[in-house]
């Protein structure tokens, strides 16, 4: 029995217990808190090591070889930490809601932990799907819109994510068939990676499989032009679901690309047509979505679209494929997850208290809610990429790492980096404008809000502190990724 199995099982068991009638808040917060301790201990124990640790495997099928195998390396642990942090915060900030909010949050968190900590392609995929159902149900049932509209949003999300998952499945099946080698099919990621190391595929084929995986995983991460589900989904989803999905679950697609696609198809992203396509798509994410975000006139729209936009930077790192850029991508995944969860959590509170998020109706909130404003500012500045917060370290590493190969002539990649830098400017424009509109000046509607009670500040302080600590000491996380990705 590995500690990772306990980490995966705890939220799922807690969800079951809540469903059976255990006190929802205590049970779920307890499980999330124990999980946080377990993950942090695992990280401390892992420090200084490399490769997979805490491995354990239970065979399910012999041929095709399928087993419930857990194991974690630096990336998995960083994302597991992100998951438990966001899960704890999301659960904590739930107030006066039916039990299903706790159950759904625990299921999404448990599914995400399962996806990040298992090493069998089948289970990686399966756990992610497990996390999608509660997302979909919660949007459809408790979304913040008229029933017909939230249902439409839920359907759209499900269809996009369902189709994306199937494309992904096709790509995974292809990869499994190519890399199984010999007479036996295997889903074990390590076995597949070894085979890929021994007998790499021809370049053209790598490109083809990588492209399918990119579309599949990319749809889950809202890669342009498969992004249009994300903004309405996050704007409609209940707060904990928005926090968990945009903060954690969306990172699954990037994690899959880093852990499955890149090791199996190391040259896949460098095949010219694949790289060019990827560069075009990520520019869509950064520039087009950046402009869309600037024109948003509600806070939830701004946040949802900005979350789509920021994914572009991580795809840039994947397109570049240099070690520094990829490590920066992991750092940015963590940072973005924490900061967007913080912002969505605060945004949910605002909507509950004010009933509207339209910029035209808001203003001067800082006056009666100073703590709230400070916490929100953390999210805003992290999202802009202010030095001292984690996002800055991540973005810097990505830009520097992607530009590394510059030798006098600008390649497509370098041009993309240059254009992407404008994204940072755009984030500053829309985030600062949102911040000024909401917290400064005065509201012509007379709306105002007060600070949350001290216990209700805890989840947000937790997230803000995480941003600050890992922002000032990014090596805490970077040291976990000693070996090249």
């Amino acid at each position: 029995m590995s500690v990772l199995e306990i980490i995966i099982a705890l939220p799922l068991l807690a969800a079951l217990a809540v469903w059976l009638g255990a006190p929802a808040r205590i049970t779920s917060l307890g499980a999330a808190f124990i999980n946080l301790i377990l993950v942090v201990t695992a990280i401390v124990r892992y420090a200084g090591k490399s490769g997979l640790a805490f491995t354990h495997s239970r065979p399910v099928l012999e041929n095709p070889a399928l087993s419930f195998a857990v194991g974690a390396d630096g990336i998995s642990l960083i994302l597991a930490l992100l998951t438990v942090l966001v899960m704890l915060a999301a659960l904590w900030q739930i107030e006066d809601r039916p039990d299903i909010f706790f159950i759904a949050s625990l299921l999404i968190g448990g599914g995400a932990l399962g996806a990040f900590l298992t090493t069998d392609v089948f289970f990686i995929y399966a756990f992610h799907e497990l996390a999608l159902i509660p997302t979909f149900l919660m949007i459809a049932l408790h979304g913040r819109a008229e029933p017909a509209q939230r249902r439409a949003v839920a359907w759209k999300t499900t269809l996009y994510l369902g189709l994306g998952s199937l494309v992904l499945l096709a790509g995974l099946v292809w990869a499994v068939l190519e890399f199984s080698g010999g007479s036996k099919l295997t889903f074990d990621l390590e076995a597949l990676r070894n085979q890929a190391r021994l007998t790499p595929l021809p370049l053209e084929k790598q490109g083809q499989i990588f492209f399918i995986l990119l579309i599949g995983f990319g749809t889950l991460v809202s890669l342009f032009p498969f992004h249009s589900w994300a903004a309405p989904a996050y704007a409609t989803a209940p707060t904990p679901v928005a926090m968990l999905h945009s903060g954690v679950l969306k990172k699954f697609g990037l994690y899959g690309l880093l852990r499955i696609a890149l090791p199996l198809l190391p040259q896949g992203a460098q095949v010219p047509w694949v790289q060019n396509a990827l560069l075009l798509m990520l520019l869509g994410n950064i520039l087009i979505m950046g402009l869309v975000t600037i024109h948003a006139n509600r806070l939830d729209e701004t946040l949802a679209n900005s979350s789509v936009m920021h994914m572009g930077y991580i795809f840039l790192a994947l397109a570049a494929g240099t070690d520094a850029a990829l490590k920066g991508a992991v750092l940015l995944m963590f940072a973005h997850g924490v900061s967007i969860a913080l912002l969505f959590g605060l945004c949910g509170r605002m909507r509950n208290q004010l009933g509207t998020l339209e910029y035209s109706k808001l203003g001067g909130l800082a006056e009666h809610a100073p703590s709230f404003t400070v916490l929100f500012a953390f999210g805003v500045f992290a999202s802009i990429g202010m030095p001292g917060l984690t996002n800055f370290a991540g973005e810097l590493m990505i830009f520097a790492g992607s530009f590394a190969g510059f030798k006098g002539t600008l390649s497509n990649l370098h041009w993309t980096v240059i254009l992407s830098l404008w994204g940072v400017v755009m984030s500053a424009v829309y985030m600062l404008r949102a911040y000024r509109n909401i917290f400064h000046g005065s509201a012509n509607t007379g709306l105002f809000m007060i600070d949350p009670a001290p216990t209700q500040r805890v989840p947000f302080i937790l997230l803000a502190a995480t941003l600050l600590v890992t922002g000032c000491c990014p090596w805490l996380l970077l040291n976990l990724m000693k070996t090249a990705l």
Partner: protein, 491 residues
């Protein structure tokens, strides 16, 4: 005790119950139903310990390999569940029968069961035909059982006419195959098909007709038009039986004959393979796409059953999968074993709605999560598994099919199957969404608890657990179906 005597015993029990019901009207039908359940359970318990001895006269007609054993067990299980479902539905169903009682509803399933068990052991086309008719003729009666319900009568007539037609096509095909190969026996046909002297076109024509006839039984496109009406009209236990038992029976025969048609060196292998891929893709799509628009749960499940038949046909088209432990027949058997609990549970949910005085439409599911959380969870499990959600049994079956198709490089068929599965996510989630939505503002009576008797609760929970366990621990089932080379030779 040998397997053969067990089968005879089941058939005899069916006949005895039929006679009792005819001449002793005073005996309660419930007692008859319970007797049937006890008999079938006993047979199920005995099956693994049965010997393979056969009376001499049956030797040429009967074979016992892994698949035959599996399908015999499968038939017993589904018969048992159908009998249970019949008992559950009895208070509602009797309102629609002529004498207000369930006369043959308990004896005919036993005869169907015996027919399916023999079919699993068939080794020539005559046995196939006789046992298939035994099953089909019993179904003609069962489908139209609710005589006072217009829908049931309509279903009965449709099933009778199209069933008779398909039987005709089947016999015609058998005749052509006999003409082309000079034998009815599977091994003889297999040998004849490898000879260059065998008439290619005659054999192909016969094989195509045979596939058409069997395609009707398993609800393959384009012979699937009858399915929604019949499934909707027939009493729910019968629909369950049709959708699982009859389909499994069709597929065991298909597995056997396709094993011959697609065998290495068979002169018609290429054409039949192409035909199967085409029919399979078409069935998966024509099952899935119309399902989007269904509002009746039974019709939805009917279209779902069509699309599952499509995946099964595609599995059969991947004849030799050297990279799996399972042969294509094994994959089909595995798929059917996963299909059984989820479909029974799906139909059980409609029966439970009926028992509580609700309709069978999707809107009747609204708010059920509030009225009975357990029922909501069980039904969610069933539909999630039907959709093929990972960690449920339904996903593994689909995964095997997709892997097989990808392994052979049938990309066109794989695309169709993936599209059908994607559409499945939409229509299987409609009932789930309905269950969890609404229910707040309804009248107090609508929020009253749903009657769900304890014993039925237990059966339903067991079915849901099977779905979940098979989804994460399929090894025992896979081991059961692993092909032993020895058994293959015995044919």
């Amino acid at each position: 005790m040998s397997v053969f005597s067990l089968e005879v015993g089941i058939a005899l029990l069916g006949l005895v119950l039929l006679l009792i019901e005819a001449f002793q009207p005073s005996i309660s039908r419930r007692a008859l139903g319970l007797t049937a359940i006890v008999g079938v359970s006993l047979a199920l318990v005995l099956l693994p310990f049965c010997g393979t001895a056969l009376p001499g006269f049956m030797q040429p007609w009967h074979q016992l390999d892994t698949l035959a054993f599996f399908y015999k067990g499968f038939s017993l299980v589904i018969t048992l569940l159908v009998l249970w479902l019949t008992l559950f539905c009895a208070p509602y169903l009797t309102r629609f029968t002529l004498d207000g009682r369930l006369a043959e509803m308990f004896s005919l399933p036993l005869i169907v069961c015996a027919g399916m068990m023999w079919m699993a052991s068939a080794r020539d086309l005559v046995t196939v035909f006789v046992t298939l008719e035994l099953v089909t003729v019993s179904f003609y009666v069962l489908v139209a059982f609710a005589r006072k319900s217009a829908l049931s009568l309509e279903a009965g007539v449709k099933y009778l006419i199209l069933g008779a037609l398909s039987t005709g096509v089947l016999v015609f095909g058998i005749a052509w195959i006999y003409g082309a190969t000079g034998t009815m026996r599977f091994d003889g046909i297999a040998k004849a098909l490898t000879l260059t002297t065998t008439s290619h076109s005659a054999a192909l024509f016969g094989a195509a007709l045979l596939l058409a006839g069997l395609g009707f039984k398993v609800a393959a496109a384009p012979f699937h038009i009858w399915v929604p009406d019949v499934y909707q009209g027939a009493p729910t236990p019968v629909t369950t039986f049709l959708s699982i038992g009859s389909k499994a029976a069709g597929f065991v025969v298909l597995t056997r004959v396709l094993d011959i048609f697609l065998a290495e060196g068979s002169v018609i292998a290429t054409e039949i393979q192409a035909l199967l891929l085409f029919i399979g893709s078409l069935t998966a799509l024509l099952g899935s796409l119309p399902a989007i628009f269904q509002t009746n749960i039974k019709r939805l499940l009917a279209y779902s059953s069509i699309s599952h038949a499509g995946y099964l046909l595609l599995a059969l088209a991947c004849h030799s999968s050297a990279r799996f432990d399972l042969s294509s027949g094994g994959i089909v058997a595995f798929y059917l074993a996963t299909y059984l609990p989820m479909t029974v549970l799906g139909f059980f949910s409609t029966a439970l709605l009926r028992a509580n005085g609700l309709g069978e439409n999707l809107k009747d599911l609204t708010g059920l999560a509030k009225r009975n959380p357990l029922f909501a969870l069980l039904t969610t499990t069933a539909f999630a598994s039907l959709a093929g959600l990972p960690l449920t049994a339904g996903f593994l079956g689909k995964l095997f099919v997709f892997l097989g198709l990808a392994d052979h490089g049938y990309w066109g068929a794989l695309t169709c199957a993936v599209i059908a599965a994607a559409v499945g996510f939409y229509y299987y989630f409609k009932p789930i969404l309905a269950i969890y939505s609404g229910g707040d503002a309804d009248s107090p009576s609508a929020n009253a608890a749903l009657a769900f008797p304890a014993i039925h609760k237990a059966v339903a929970i067991v079915l849901a657990l099977i779905i979940l366990i098979l989804g994460v621990y399929p090894k025992p089932l896979q081991g059961m179906l692993k092909q032993e080379p020895a058994a293959k030779m015995a044919r």
